[in-house]
């Protein structure tokens, strides 16, 4: 089911009210225009990228880098289990993932320069600090390089908005120096698999059928623009433009219709926002979308009602990981790998699971773990990645890498390289300056 604005509206960026009006008059022509054509040279190893953005900072020690021999005030309460990769163990919270370790590689020596959520989020998604300039999200770089695939935007955010903490959102969520035209297009997916496009909230009464009547559409957009102006919103041009294209194209609409999937397939991903979003990501990739970022959108139950702090487990770290977060992730991630693999898509779809940092190896006063940017994990599968490897190593308690740290800039450079944005293209776009590909992965 595709909705058009049941949630509070969230824009993923855009342009001015004036340019919105201009766009409204030229919507059909504007679709697909203004984007660089995907270079016709060598095909990229990753035709598509799915980033599973584990917002909040998942604990490396309690998931992919357990330390069973560490002192009790570091180790945590979970047992370890072997994986299919010789010598590599995970905690017992990831049994399904462990059985599929031949399909992915784990980096245990990630290190960020920032220990606060929005700042580290920007570093994690762009490779750079927010100041003095906000650099583009890796997805925006790939999107600019590859352009639209038919009516679908090239860069999707699946989740419940731009990741944020209490004071503010991640600055590096979108186009950055490449411009807002390369921001992600936000689609929300419920645990029931219902899609919703919040940017169309103000287009009251608009349905996918009615939107095919361009005259009515323009009239509705005019009315919506006046509402937007009254509301002081000025950045909706591009998202409406993309939404129009999406709704007007049956093939594009179908990408969001999870009811076309077998019940068993939907069940396998789990009846959770994250699980169904992963399934929707697979459908988008199947239709040729080059970049999908699935934002973890579960919550820490006792922190705040209606909050969305993801993996930020300052209290109840162990209980939340064991009861909620890890079972949800383990199920959805395993289902996604299996599904992509069975459809022959994994070999050219890069799937990266990572957060903005890890959590303190030393257990806190609240019997939990705090932010820790000095050492964390990322998990890489498909799309040109050599699977079954454990790359990098942390010290005996998980405090710091004992091998050369791998930074978000290196992660982003590797993602873009595998997606076909080679060094020359990056230089021409003036992005990811100084970044190098993680050679151990590819």
């Amino acid at each position: 089911m595709l909705g058009i604005g049941d949630f509070k509206a969230n824009s993923c960026g855009g342009q001015t009210r004036r340019s919105f009006l201009q766009t409204a008059a030229a919507l059909p022509m504007a679709l697909g225009a203004g984007h660089e054509a995907w270079a016709t040279g060598q095909a990229p190893k990753a035709k598509s990228v799915i980033v599973l953005w584990l917002w909040g900072g998942p604990s490396h020690i309690d998931m992919f880098d357990p330390k069973p021999e560490a002192p009790s005030d570091f180790r945590g309460p979970f047992g370890t289990i072997p994986t299919r990769t010789p010598g590599m163990h995970f905690t017992e919270l990831l049994p399904k993932t462990a059985k599929r370790s031949n399909m992915f590689s784990v980096i245990r020596s990630m290190q960020s320069s920032n220990g606060g959520h929005p700042g580290a989020g920007t570093v994690g998604l762009t490779g750079f600090e927010e100041r003095p300039t906000v650099h583009p999200n890796f997805g925006s770089i790939v999107a600019k390089h590859r352009g639209h695939a038919d009516a679908l935007p090239p860069f999707f955010y699946l989740g419940h908005g731009i990741p944020r903490d209490l004071p503010r959102r991640i600055e590096g969520y979108g186009g950055g120096t490449l411009g807002k035209a390369h921001d992600p297009f936000l689609v929300q997916c419920s645990e029931k698999g219902e899609a919703n496009i919040p940017t169309l909230k103000l287009l009251e009464g608009l349905t996918p059928n009615r939107i095919e009547d361009r005259k009515k559409l323009l009239g509705q957009l005019d009315a919506a623009e006046r509402q937007l102006e009254n509301a002081g919103i000025d950045d909706w041009k591009r998202t409406h433009q993309s939404a129009y294209g999406l709704l007007a194209d049956p093939k594009a609409r179908a990408a969001f219709d999870l009811t076309q999937e077998k019940r068993k397939t939907r069940d396998t991903y789990g009846q959770t926002t994250f699980g169904q979003s992963c399934l929707m990501a697979r459908r988008l990739v199947e239709t040729g979308v080059p970049y999908v970022q699935v934002n973890w959108s579960e919550y820490v139950e006792t922190f705040t009602p209606n909050g969305d702090w993801g993996w930020d487990t300052h209290i109840f770290n162990f209980e939340l990981l064991q009861d909620r977060h890890c079972p949800i992730f383990d199920r959805a991630y395993s289902a996604l790998l299996d599904d992509l693999n069975e459809r022959g898509l994994l070999k050219d779809t890069l799937v990266v699971a990572m957060g903005e940092f890890g959590r303190t190896p030393k257990i806190s006063k609240r019997a939990a773990r705090e932010h820790w940017q000095h050492c964390y994990f990322s998990v890489w599968a498909g799309g040109g990645v050599q699977p079954g490897r454990c790359i990098g190593e942390s010290d005996k308690v998980g405090n710091y890498p004992v091998t050369t740290p791998i930074t978000p800039l290196m992660a982003g450079t590797t993602i873009c390289e595998l997606a076909g944005v080679d060094a020359q293209a990056r230089a021409e776009m003036k992005v990811l300056d100084g970044g190098r590909v993680i050679r151990e992965l590819v």
Partner: protein, 288 residues
């Protein structure tokens, strides 16, 4: 209808089917089911929305859940009912970083709160058998301990000692024995002690987690959750840790077991095809 059939069978003294009975059908994420009022009612919490947990209650026969309290904007979960039925204790969150542990008098909804230093979280309340105290879990200085307070939230006393995360306290019917889970030695294991925390005995010992123990109404058995066979399943053992055996065999998750007051059955949360519902199953006596 199924519940009614079960009730009739039970009242006739007929042996209950070993087949597991599904009690809810909405599939939402659920946790912590508990029988109360002698088995006539069931309470549990569930994900009402993506971002809100709600405490629910339903008649054990009609099986029509409704909110326990008219508090639509508060997380409420992890509830325990006092044996005399006069109080309910639960965890509540009303806004940013505001976690409360509430002890509520049921007749006039007078609330008492427990105060600890720091921005920690409360867990797993259980009332003493005389209904005069509440036990709960809280981490104040590093380890998470089991604490005891009076019904007005005062006279706070730490029950457990040492390191690790201590959680899920459960009392024997005579109130003299406490069973709980703890990571004090390594992974989560199940321990028993006197009600005051003395005379600790370790009941389980393996490399996987053993969590959420609950003593049966007759005081002879303990049901618990374990990952020992690679999946989250339910197990039962004698109260001294002997005769451990597996109860569930589904490839998905079985968790949050709690005894029916008849001591012959457990209610639990089962994950089936990615959906979570409450189930009621027999716990055959040893050897059956």
């Amino acid at each position: 209808m199924r519940a009614l059939a079960l009730l009739i069978l039970g009242s006739l003294g007929l042996s209950l089917s070993a087949e597991t009975i599904r009690l809810t059908h909405d599939g939402t994420n659920k946790r912590d089911p508990r029988y109360f009022e002698g088995g006539r009612k069931i309470m549990y919490s569930f994900d009402e929305t993506r971002a809100l947990l709600r405490l629910m209650v339903m008649d054990a026969e009609a099986l029509k859940p409704e909110p326990m309290f008219n508090d639509a904007n508060k997380h409420q979960l992890n509830a325990a009912m006092s044996p005399d039925g006069n109080h309910i204790a639960f965890n509540e969150c009303t806004g940013n970083l505001t976690a409360h542990f509430v002890i509520r008098r049921r007749d006039d909804r007078k609330d008492s709160f427990v105060k600890h230093g720091g921005r920690g979280g409360y867990r797993s309340p259980v009332f003493t058998r005389d209904s005069k105290h509440v036990l709960y879990c809280f981490a104040e200085t590093g380890p998470q301990h089991i604490w005891r307070v009076t019904l007005d939230g005062k006279e706070k006393k730490q029950i457990t000692e040492g390191t690790g995360v201590n959680n899920w306290p459960s009392f024997s019917p005579d109130g003299k024995t406490l069973v709980y889970g703890s990571s004090r030695t390594n992974t989560y294991e199940i321990y028993s002690s006197d009600a005051d925390g003395k005379n600790v005995k370790q009941l389980t010992d393996n490399e996987a987690m053993d969590i959420r123990p609950e003593i049966s109404p007759d005081g002879k058995r303990i049901v618990f959750t374990s990952m020992r066979d690679g999946n989250r399943e339910l197990y039962v053992m004698d109260v001294d840790g002997q005769n451990q055996r597996r109860l569930t065999f589904h490839e998905e998750r079985d968790d949050y077991a709690s005894w029916h007051p008849d001591g012959q059955r457990i209610i639990f949360v089962g994950e089936r095809e990615g959906r979570f519902d409450l189930y009621l199953m027999d716990v055959p006596a040893k050897g059956k």
